[in-house]
């Protein structure tokens, strides 16, 4: 099993979620994060002065999937989260050594 982690733009969450669901990913876990990267932060105003906020709100998606689903997951995310603009985010893939469904105690692919 692999854990596919994607950091994406927040407003793309819904699209990505649907894309994953379409290819049979049954569950994901989502975290609000702040991203620092090539996409520079934005300027904000404070009492007549401008200043730079150097991070951006992003959303991190974690999807544990069967090995043979990994490529399609990556593809789906890449497609759904793409705007073509800087800051679209990254996908990282990790190896999962074990997985367990707490409710049933099932392990491995059955747990996903």
């Amino acid at each position: 099993m692999k854990m596919v982690v994607a950091v994406i733009k927040p407003f793309k969450l819904d699209d990505v979620r649907e894309a994953l669901s379409d290819i049979g990913v049954q569950g994901i876990t989502v975290t609000e994060v702040k991203g620092f990267g090539r996409q520079k932060g934005h300027t904000e105003l404070y009492r007549g002065a401008e200043y730079v906020v150097d991070f951006l709100p992003k959303v991190k998606i974690e999807a544990a999937v069967n090995d043979d689903l990994v490529e399609r997951v990556i593809e789906s995310i890449t497609k759904a989260a793409n705007t073509g603009k800087i800051g679209d985010g990254k996908i990282f893939v990790f190896n999962i050594e074990q997985s367990i469904r707490i409710r049933t105690g099932e392990t491995g692919n059955d747990a996903l």
Binding site: F11, D14, E18, H42, E44, L45, E50
Partner: protein
Amino acid sequence: MKKTSLFGLGIAALMLLSSVVTADTAAPAAAPTAATTTAPATVAPATPAVAPVAATPTVAAAPAAPAATPAPTINSGDTAWLLISSALVLLMTPGLALFYGGLVRSKNALNMFMKSFISMALVSVIWVVVGYSLAFTKGNPYIGGLDWAFLQGVGLTPNTFYGATVPHQLFMIFQMMFAIITPALISGSVAERMKFSSFVVFMTIWSVVVYSPLAHMVWGEGGYLRDLGALDFAGGTVVHISSGFSGLVLAILLGKRKIGHNDDTRPHNLPFTLLGAALLWFGWFGFNSGSAIASNELAVSAFVVTHIAAATAALTWVLIEWVMYKKSTALGLATGAVAGLVAITPASGFVDPIGALAIGFGVSIVCLLGIRLKHSLGYDDSLDAFGVHGLGGAFGAIATGLFATKAVNSAGADGLFYNGGTELLVKQFIGVGVAIAVAVVGTLIIASIIKLVMGLRVDQEEEQAGLDLNQHGEMAYSRLT
């Protein structure tokens, strides 16, 4: 380039305005003291002096005094009540900002706040410059003149027509607070997508060419609906119908928000919405009860029916929810309360507690059903400014024709259910019709021009990122410690 065209637009609007205005302002706008004697003459028994009635039911002596009173005297109690009422009505606009601000996603929260707060800054200045004058000088039946522009002649002695016992400036500032909240109400229909600059330009023009004329027709000396005898004690038509229907038009012109199927569009902070509803309720006592322009029996009656209608509507709403879902929502209670306050507004100086119970009960049913229209008809009245203020205001204005009773206000009229026949009801329908017409036509024209000149809507990327950041350069909350 855009600036120039906008400037041209402003000039055009002003020219249009002055052509309407000048016709009549040449005629004697008259010494304000003369006004009292004129007013009763033209309106006679059939046409009551509506909101600011000098003669309240129990003060029988009032009509006897006119000739003897050389200088009207200030009553400190009336002044105190109108001072605090003015402050209360002002507080409603921040209350509205909280109400609306809590309902949007956090990325658009400040934008909602700003669309209300800006009115406190902008419309106040407009009111001083021309708004009050256009609304309340005598003028013609449809609009006042420019005699009181920059508040020239609006002093500290009473204007006996509008309020015989309080300084004229006090009546002016009390009315200003109404002018402030009205365009702010509209922002509920355009939430999460309308450009701030366009909204500000819209608000500016709308305040001058829709609000002031309508206020004149309903409350101004010689105003068309006032002289007709249509009743609107505290602004059901002027404030709520006008803003609600204008909101509807804008919502349609703007189109729907871009929202994904499963996007989380839930209110980001319902406690803010509840606090906002509370401040609205609190301030509404000034709105309705202050409209008696005195600290007297009529003010008390208006206060009492206002509260009863709000409570009844809130209760009705949550009971309906309970019947439907076995749950009662906080937003439902708040929405019901506001709907009740909206509906009682035109009626508040004319109905008794039983009428208030009926109006409160009815309006929640109307609004709850009315709000569903948007799902079937497909317009995105995002925060239901139309559903609550447009429909609720119309319901209240019509209900005034049913429940009004002279037992409460001898200067009012008897409605259908109080042996008054359909006479008042017909007038109320006319009032509602005129208000809708003015609002819809006015908004259509203003918004269409703005759409052409500068656009109405933020672009899609801005909408996705949230309006706070790109329209205001700020975010409502910073999360990292």
